[in-house]
């Protein structure tokens, strides 16, 4: 594992700070970043007023932002957000659990790994949205339809990472575990799982983004309740500021998801790195 980790650094080492930044230099990026956001809002405002697009279709932020904050006071806005997040989370959890169990089983056996390889490689790139018609036909506009699509897509993403992780378990460590007479479950618990963890977290992080895209996609097309359905409704009702406000909301949601995953990754990988350091020394 440590070697695999080093390799990544060989070609792409983390940007080492050339020198320790002064207080001013540390504050500057944040300041510029804020300036970037404000500048973008300004550009949007001006483009909306004098640009080639009809301001009705592209309302300025001075119309959209109030709508965005108003939304926060509406119960049905929160209900819709809740529906989307519920589908997102359930889909992610179901697929992750399924992928861990199957991945560990398949990964621990050479025979299973080789026998399933071609099938997995074939099923993995299938765009899960292709199954939307089937989901709509089977379940109609309900949570189940959304879950089918989200879980199908996330399952493959996480499974592949789990398989990478299991394959990465150190051979010497496996032999050691055998000499210590650890049972299969003990080996999974103390050997496979810790090696697997960083891969798993990567998988979940990738899947989390895709899951959000898909939940909203299904809501748009099948009409399951959620933010996607609300946007589709706003479009039909020609309520453009409301539409843009919902898009801002989805962006904030996406940022939260990314932040959460980043946090999860940092915590778990920090733990992982410290354990590894301890074992090595």
């Amino acid at each position: 594992m440590s070697v695999a980790h080093d390799n990544v650094q060989l070609a792409a080492p983390p940007a080492t700070p050339r020198r320790r930044a002064s207080l001013l230099e540390r504050g500057l990026p944040a300041l510029l970043g804020a300036l970037g956001i404000v500048g973008a809002l300004f550009a949007w405002q001006i483009f909306s007023e004098i640009g080639p697009v009809d301001p009705h279709f592209l309302p300025p932020p001075s119309d959209v932002l109030p709508q965005f904050f108003q939304n926060l006071g509406y119960a049905d806005f929160w209900t819709a957000t809740g529906y989307t997040l519920r589908a997102w989370l359930l889909g992610l959890v179901i697929s992750t659990l399924g992928a861990i169990v199957l991945g560990v089983i398949i990964g621990s056996s050479d025979f299973l790994r080789q026998a399933t390889h071609s099938t997995i490689e074939f099923l993995r790139p299938i765009p899960s949205v292709a199954l939307i018609p089937l989901a709509a036909l089977l379940y109609g506009p309900v949570l189940k339809a959304e879950l089918l699509i989200v879980a199908f897509a996330c399952f493959w993403i996480v499974l592949v990472q789990v398989l990478y992780g299991v394959a990465d378990v150190d051979k010497v460590a496996t032999d050691t575990a055998h000499t210590m007479h650890l049972s299969y479950l003990q080996r999974v618990r103390y050997l496979v799982f810790p090696t697997l963890l960083p891969y798993l977290v990567t998988g979940i992080r990738l899947a989390a983004t895709v899951a959000l895209i898909l939940s909203i996609g299904v809501e748009l097309i099948v009409g399951t309740p959620g933010l996607g359905q609300k946007v589709a409704l706003a479009q039909i009702n020609d309520a453009t500021p409301s539409m843009y406000a919902l898009i801002l909301t989805s962006g904030v949601l996406g940022m939260l998801v990314n932040g959460l995953m980043g946090l999860l990754e940092r915590r778990l990988l920090f733990w992982h790195a410290s354990v590894r350091g301890g074992v090595k020394s």
């Binding site: 060989l10 070609a11 020198r19 320790r20 002064s22 207080l23």
Partner: protein, 275 residues
């Protein structure tokens, strides 16, 4: 010090001050020395004596705070044509996406040499370092010592006025190191090059060079400038067992010991030693 006409590299009163968190740190105080055509000089000093900083200033990778570096009569502002560098980190200095041949050829391509000329120079450089058979390999397929030889070949192929080497053998094992030392001597003679070689290894500096410059601890000055009068043909066993080698080595060792406590300017006058 006599005025000679064939000065290749002239370093005068180079000073480097870093600013960190508003505080100043003087890494190099005042360095002055000339390097002449065909000279092989080693810079040796205790760790933390600003060797790498100095080398970066000379190579034009870093602007000195004051003072000048002149190469072939032209002031160095940024990496100069005619200067080649061999870095300590051979694994990172060679581009892993290019073959050995591609790595050596790249600076020549950039310099817009003709295809035939490039080909000739690559062949010549590969022969110099004895890697004719590895030209189509990738650097990561080679051992550390071989990788460093590729880096040397790349530098040699540019026909540099001055070749700078920054602790190039610090990361290879002892046997490979001895081989590489002899290789550098051979390349130096064959191409009649001017070399400035930075090392923290006293034995290496005496064995390799015709002249050793001992640096003080930082803020750095040149503490001692010593001519190495060993015979031109050097041999790992024979040369290293000569009494003269031992004397020179002892002298440099003594100077480095002084250097460890001697921070810039304690002996303000630059000393030119004869032992």
């Amino acid at each position: 010090m006599s005025e000679r006409q064939d000065v290749r590299l002239s370093v005068s009163q180079v000073q480097k001050v870093y600013r960190r968190d508003g505080r100043e740190f003087e890494a190099v105080r005042s360095l002055t020395f000339d390097l002449h055509e065909g000279e092989f000089a080693c810079l040796v000093g205790p760790s933390g004596s600003g060797k790498t900083t100095l080398l970066k200033c000379i190579a034009g990778l870093m602007q000195p705070t004051s003072g000048t570096v002149v190469l072939d009569g032209k002031k160095v502002n940024g990496p100069a044509k005619g200067m080649a560098v061999v870095f300590q980190e051979y694994g990172r200095s060679l581009y892993p996406w290019l073959t050995v041949e591609g790595n050596i050829e790249l600076p020549l391509k950039v310099a817009k040499l003709s295809k035939a000329e490039r080909r000739a120079r690559v062949d010549e450089a590969l022969t110099s370092v004895g890697l004719e058979n590895a030209r189509k390999s990738y650097p990561w397929q080679l051992s550390g010592g071989m990788q460093q030889r590729v880096a040397i070949a790349r530098a040699v192929a540019t026909h540099p006025s001055v070749l700078l080497m920054d602790e190039p053998f610090a990361a290879v094992d002892a046997q490979t190191r001895a081989d590489l030392e002899d290789l550098v001597r051979a390349v130096w003679k064959r191409h009649n090059m001017t070399i400035l070689f930075v090392t923290h290894d006293i034995d290496e500096s005496v064995y390799l060079a015709e002249r050793v410059l001992v640096l003080s601890s930082s803020p750095t000055v040149v503490q001692d400038d010593l001519a190495i009068d060993l015979p031109a043909e050097r041999d790992q066993l024979e040369t290293r067992s000569m009494p003269r080698f031992t004397e020179l080595r002892a002298h440099v060792y003594g100077q480095v010991q002084i250097a460890k406590t001697n921070k810039g300017g304690a002996t303000s006058a630059q000393q030119t030693s004869t032992v």
